[in-house]
């Protein structure tokens, strides 16, 4: 049976204020988290493709209990099962450590054909872990996918459209593969009542590195410190004038003086 895995995480609501507290730690107060916004599209694609293939889907999150909310939301949407991977003391902020846990979980599941990621994580602001998971597993990497054109688990082939700076590429590859998907790939569904009930009852299993049977690599990077960005010191000049032409001419003069044209 086809098996698609997707990775998700809980991130602070995009409208939340996020700042560095006195202690040096990043905080967003008691504002709720949401599913990482890019994951809305990978979750939808995972659910839809697994259904179409009469297969199953698993959502994985790496890190602390914070991410249980994202996993429960995944179940509410229709993902079949959810697992959190947490190794206390490991620095999952390092992409090589993260990758070892992610690849370890996929290997433990054993029968995975496809791993789908959202384009990036809005908290860490990065996508490097996806490419590294593909390297670690030795799978095909299809990044920035805007459409899955064909997906055939029997012949183990996939054909996608990728959107990159230079335009669009239509690319074929063999399964298993790692995909990252863009926002225009689908219209995410909302959870329904049954899904929400299922999610409320769900117990999220937690796997450690020992459960995965792996030894973690040393972290290759260290987050040294966090800081609040310097305040933007802006005085807005609202341009006044008798009519549109006068205002526009004044604005044009300002822009020339700013030397940005």
């Amino acid at each position: 049976m086809a098996h698609i895995v997707t990775f998700t995480r809980s991130t602070p609501d995009t409208a939340a204020k996020v700042w560095v507290a006195e202690s040096g730690a990043v905080t967003w107060g008691d504002v709720a988290t949401v599913v990482n916004p890019w994951d809305e599209y990978s979750l939808e694609e995972t659910i839809a493709q697994a259904k179409a293939a009469r297969g199953r889907s698993t959502a994985l999150a790496i890190g602390g209990a914070l991410h249980d909310d994202a996993l429960k939301h995944s179940i509410a949407l229709g993902i079949n099962s959810a697992i959190r991977i947490e190794e206390p003391g490991a620095d999952a902020g390092d992409s090589l450590v993260w990758t070892a846990l992610a690849a370890g979980a996929i290997n433990k599941l054993g029968d995975v054909d496809l791993a789908i990621f959202g384009k990036e994580s809005v908290d860490v602001g990065s996508d490097q872990h996806m490419y590294q998971v593909a390297r670690s597993l030795g799978w095909s990497m299809l990044s920035l996918v805007s459409k899955i054109i064909e997906l055939d688990f029997a012949t183990r082939s996939i054909k996608v459209e990728r959107t990159v700076e230079a335009g669009k590429d239509i690319v074929t590859a063999r399964l298993p593969a790692v995909l990252s998907v863009l926002k225009d790939i689908n219209e995410p569904r909302y959870p329904n009542f049954l899904g929400i009930r299922k999610a409320a009852k769900a117990k999220i299993p937690v796997w450690s590195a020992a459960d995965l049977g792996i030894e973690l690599p040393a972290a290759a990077t260290t987050a040294l410190s966090y800081s609040n960005p310097p305040a933007r010191d802006i005085s807005t000049e609202i341009i006044a004038g008798a009519d549109a032409a006068e205002k526009a001419a004044l604005l044009a003069s300002h822009l020339l003086a700013e030397k940005v044209l």
């Binding site: 063999r174 225009d184 410190s225």
Partner: protein, 339 residues
Amino acid sequence: MTVFAWIETQGAYAQPSSWETLGGARALADALQTDLRAVIFGGDSGSAASDAGRYGADAVIVCACETMESQVAQLSSLVAERKPRAVVAAGSSRGRELMASAAFDTGSGLISDVFELRVEDGLIIGTRPVYAGKVLMDMRAETATTFLTLRPRAFPTPAKGAKSQVPIETVAAVDAPSSPLTTVETIAAEAGAISLTDASIIVSGGRGMANNPVAAPGTLSADEANIWRAQQGFAHILKPLAAVLGAAIGASRAAVDAGYIAYEHQVGQTGKVVSPDLYIACGISGAIQHQAGMRGSKIIVAINKDKNAPIFKLAHYGIVGDLYEIVPALTAALERKLS
């Protein structure tokens, strides 16, 4: 000791963002007191190799490998053999994939999306945005080589020097597994279109674009008429302004989701993060998720009919008014001043 800068090429030409990379890598190499080598993958490195010298590389390494798979193998082998202190690349689609993959294969640390670089006690520290730029993070790699991707437009393009003769070393391609991917078709982006992340000027439209006073064909439903009017507005009101300025066209998510313009143009948290010298927001309210994509612009101009729109808190210049009157007037005024 050396620092590598990866030069992204399209055919025989370097992508302009590669010279930002070279500028950032040059400063890093100077701080580390090492030399700087430009690394070019591709069959024909013609002008890219000599230009690399003019933009500040001490030497150029060229290798004819075309696929991502072979470039990763080549870069990993060069890194294992020559142990550069750093490998620097633009944070483009290809740059991000190449750096992450080679960092994995060589067991190295990667700091991505860096907008500031410094050397402290001989160690490389990169500053990068997290939480959509609400917080900044300083990061260091613990490995012999630090891989870095640079945020587009964060490092200035160095001045192009006089013709210089830098040594060009051609290395034979290493054995790499054949590419697991087959490209069956490439559809080039609209000719002459400017990439949003590299643009120095962006003109953006939001939901307000639907308030175009032109009459829509009577055969359309109310929703279709809105879309039609907004599309006409992008084509005939925003595009002429962008043409006068040599600007790229951006959009809010509301405009994209309503079908006024393609997703490639979306700026913001779930679109592109841009940092042009000038960002002109037309009919955009300035929601926090839109700001996440354009807050880093040098000069922000807002044109909005609601004087209380949050975008005015962010803007250096604002005009309160109907964009369908202001934008054509601005296009005309700029045409006069720039000609």
